[in-house]
C-alpha cells in the first residue's frame, strides 16, 4: 500500500512539474514579454530596464531555474498590470469562484448519482427514459446557453432572481444551476452505465439467490463496485473547481478566477497567468491523486502497482 501511495504522489509531483515547465515554455514562445508589456515602440533603454527588472535578460535556462526555484519558495511573481503579487490577486478571486463551483459540484453529485442509480434500477422504464433524456439534454446544452435561458426566464420575465453580479446569496442560484445541470447529466449517465454493468455480474445473482434483500444487494454489492467510474468523473469535476467557471463567470459578471484569467491572458499578464495555471493544475492533480488513492480503498485488488482505469 505504501508503494502504491508513493508511486501516485510521485506521479502527481511530476505532472505539476511538467505543467509548470509547459507554462514557462508556452508563455515565452508566444512572444517577448517585454515587447508585449512595454510595447514595441518603447525606447530601447526602457525595454532593457524592463528585461533587467524582470530577469528577462538572463539566459533561458537561468530564467527557468529562477522561475522554478521561486515557485518552490511560493514566490509566483508580481502582476505586470496591477503591481501586486500575482498570488494575492488570484487568492482574492478564489472565494468567489468556489462560491459557484462548490454548490455546483454538490448539485452535480446530489442530482446526478441518485438519478443514475434510480434509472439503472428501473431500466427501460418510462422514468429511466425520462432521466436519460434530461441527462443528454443537460450535458449537450452549453452552460452559457443554459445560463442565458435561465436569466431570461427567472430574472427578466419572472423577476425572481438576479441576472448577475455577486450581491446576495440569490445571485448564486442561476450560475450554479447553469454549471450543475450539465455535470449532473454526465454523472447520471456514467452512474447508470456502471450500475447496469455491475447488476449483470454473477455475484449480484448469487447474492439475490442467497436471499439477501434487494436493497442490501444494491447497497452492499452493487454500489461499491459501480463507484469506480463514478469516482473518476467526480474527481475530474473536483479538479475543475478553480477554472471550471470561465464562461459562466463572464455570462453572470461574476468576479472569480475565470474572469481574472481572461483579463490576464488578454493583457499578457504572465505572472497571473502562470499562477492560475499552477493553481488549476495543482487542483486537478490533487483531485486525481485522491481518486487514485480512493481506488485502492474501494477495490483492494488495485493496491498493487498497476494503475486503475488509467488515463483519467
Amino acid at each position: 500500500m505504501l508503494r502504491f501511495v508513493a508511486l501516485r504522489v510521485g506521479r502527481a509531483l511530476l505532472t505539476i512539474t511538467l505543467v509548470v515547465t509547459f507554462a514557462f515554455v508556452v508563455l515565452r514562445l508566444s512572444g517577448d514579454p517585454a515587447l508585449m508589456i512595454m510595447s514595441p515602440d518603447a525606447p530601447p533603454e526602457a525595454l532593457a530596464a524592463f528585461r533587467k527588472a524582470w530577469g528577462l535578460d538572463d539566459p533561458i535556462w537561468l530564467q527557468y531555474l529562477k522561475y522554478f526555484t521561486a515557485i518552490l519558495q511560493g514566490e509566483l511573481g508580481q502582476s505586470f498590470r496591477d503591481g501586486r503579487p500575482a498570488i494575492q490577486l488570484v487568492a482574492e478571486r478564489i472565494p468567489a469562484t468556489l462560491q459557484l463551483t462548490l454548490p455546483a459540484l454538490a448539485l452535480k453529485v446530489g442530482l446526478g448519482i441518485p438519478a443514475g442509480i434510480y434509472a439503472a434500477l428501473h431500466r427501460n422504464s418510462a422514468i429511466d427514459r425520462a432521466v436519460m433524456t434530461f441527462a443528454v439534454a443537460g450535458f449537450t446544452v452549453p452552460s452559457f446557453v443554459l445560463g442565458l435561458l435561465l436569466v431570461l426566464v427567472f430574472a427578466v420575465q419572472l423577476g425572481w432572481l438576479p441576472s448577475g453580479g455577486q450581491e446576495s446569496w440569490r445571485s448564486v442560484i442561476l450560475p450554479v444551476i447553469s454549471m450543475g445541470l450539465g455535470g449532473a447529466g454526465i454523472l447520471a449517465r456514467f452512474t447508470r452505465s456502471a450500475m447496469l454493468e455491475v447488476l449483470g455480474q454473477p455475484y449480484i445473482r448469487t447474492a439475490s439467490a442467497k436471499g439477501v434483500p434487494w436493497h442490501q444487494v444494491v447497497r452492499l454489492h452493487a454500489l461499491p463496485n459501480a463507484a469506480i467510474p463514478t469516482v473518476t468523473i467526480v474527481g475530474f469535476m473536483v479538479g475543475t473547481l478553480m477554472a471550471g467557471a470561465v464562461v459562466v463567470e463572464s455570462v453572470f459578471s461574476w468576479p472569480g478566477v475565470g474572469r481574472l484569467m481572461v483579463v490576464a491572458v488578454s493583457n499578457r499578464d504572465l505572472a497571473v497567468v502562470q499562477c492560475i495555471l499552477l493553481l488549476v493544475s495543482a487542483t486537478m492533480v490533487t483531485s486525481n491523486l485522491i481518486v487514485d488513492l480512493l481506488y485502492g480503498v474501494l477495490d483492494p485488488r488495485l493496491r498493487g502497482t498497476a494503475p486503475a482505469g488509467g488515463g483519467h
Binding site: 496591477d82 430574472a155 438576479p162 450581491e167 459578471s253
Partner: protein, 539 residues
Amino acid sequence: MLTRRAATLLAASTALPRFAIAQADQRPSITIAVQRIANSNTFDNLREASNVGERTAQMFNERLIEIDWRGDLSQKPGLATAWRRTDEKTVEVTLREGVRFHNGDTLTAEDVAARFSPAGMFGDSRPTVDGKTLPHAFSAIVGQGSKELPKEIPPVARRLWPGLDRVEIVDARTVRFHNATPDVTLEGRMAALGSEIVSRRAYGEASTWLEYARKPIGTGPYAIREFKPDTTLQMDAHDDYWGGRPPVKSIRLVEVPEASSRINGLLSGEYHFACDIPPDQIAGIERNRNFEVLGGVIQNHRLTSFDKFHPQLADPRVRLAMAHAVDRQVIVDALWAGRTRVPKGLQWEFFGDMFIADWNTPEYNPARARELLKAAGYKGDPIPYRLLNNYYVNQVPTSQVLVEMWKQVGINVAIEMKESFVQLRDRTLPRGVRDWSSGATLNDPVGSLVSNFGPNGAAQQAREYANDEFSKLCVLLETSADRALRKKAFARMLQIAEREDPAYIMLHQAATFTAKRRDIKWKALPAYQMDFGPGNFAL
C-alpha cells in the same frame, strides 16, 4: 418638573437633526453596468485617454474651463471663474473660491501649477511645437512601485499641451499659463480630457503613481471610495461640492462585458443604467414600458486608420481606393438603424468658424476604387486588419461589412482578432488597418486631426503615419494666431489626410446609447461622459 409640552419639544428638538440626517441619506444609490471601466485600470486621463475614461472622468475630476455639454457646447467656467488673454501666448486664470477637494483641502493656485508641472505631467520634456515626434510607448505596465511619472505620460501631455512652458502662480487664486509659442486654443486645452486638476497634497502623499492614479483626489461631485480593477468602481457623493449637493448618494459602476448581460441586468432591476447598448437592441428594450434608451450621436467619429508603411499600403492610391470602396450610408442604415450619420470628414460643426462646410470625405465609388488599384498595381496581396472584439459598439460587424466591401473592388483584407491595444499597435508583425475613434476634445482641429495624426499624435508616435507637409501644417495650426491662415491650413490637411496621402477612412459619427429605467429623470450628453451632477438626476 418636566411638563408634557416641554418633553414633546425636547423630543422634537433632539429628533430633528436625526431626521435631517435621515433625509440626507434618502438620496438613491445607483448601479451602472458598463462594458469596461478603464482600459489601463487607472483614472489619470493622460494615461486613460480613452472613450471609457471619458465616461467617468468628470464624476470625480474637473477642469478649469468646462464644455457646456447640457447646452450649446460653448466654454463655461469650471474651476476657473474667469480667464483673459494677456497676449497670444498667455492666459490669466482666476480660480473659483471655496472649492474643496475630496480630502477637504481648498483648491489653490498651487494645485493648478503642480498639475501642469514637470512632476505632474511633463517630465523632462520641453515644449514641442517644432514638428518633432516624441517617442511614445503605449504600455500595459503603469507606474508601479515608484513615484516616477510613467514614461508614456509626458508624450501624451505634450500632445495636449505642446507649447506650454510653465504655469505661474500670481496669487492664491490667480495663475498665468505661459506658452512658448502663440496658441489660440489654450482655453480649449484647459477644457480638454487630460487637463483635470487634482489635489497637490494627495498626489504628493501617494506612495506610488499607481496609488494616486487609482484614486485621484479631485473636486468633482463624487469621490472614489473603492476601485476593484476590472470589476467595480464605487463612488460616494462629495457633499462639499461647490456646484451643489450631488443628487445621488453613491454610484457603483459594474464591469459587465457582455451586452446581453447588461441588458438583462437592467430589465431584471439590478442596474439602473446599462451603457454601450447596440442599436439593434433598442427596440427590444423599449418594448418594456418601464425602460427607455437615451443617447445618439456624440462629438466623436469612428475611423479605420492605416499603417501607411505596410508594403501593400505604401501607395496612397491603394488607401484612397479603400476609402472609395466603403458605402458608409449602408453601414449607418444597416448596423445603426439610421441613428447616426456620415460626417464631413474629421471635423464637427462644434469647430465654429474652423468648420470646412464644403469638405466631403471620399465618396462611395467602386469604379474609381478599381481604377486606383489598377493604377497602383495592386495584385491582391493580403492586408492585415487588426480588430478588437467590439470595443467600439458594432465594431466587429462593421469590420466584416468593410472586408466584404473591399473584396467587391478586389482588395484582400484579412481580419486578425486582437485582445488589447498593445497587441493592436505591435510593430513586430506587419500592421495594415485598425479601428480607431477620434473625439473633439476641444473645439478646434488641434484636438482631433492634429492630436491623432500630427507629429505627436498617437499615429505618428506609433509610426503608423508620417507626412512632412501635414506635420508642418500641424505646427502652423498649433502656433498661428491668424484664423484665416489656420482655416486654410486645416482645409489642406483634410485634403492630405483623407485623399492625397490617406491616414484613415472616415466611417461615421460615433453614437452611444444608454438604457435606463424610465422613472429616472436623467439626460444623456452628446459625449461618452455621463453627467450625474446637480440638476441632471431625479428619481
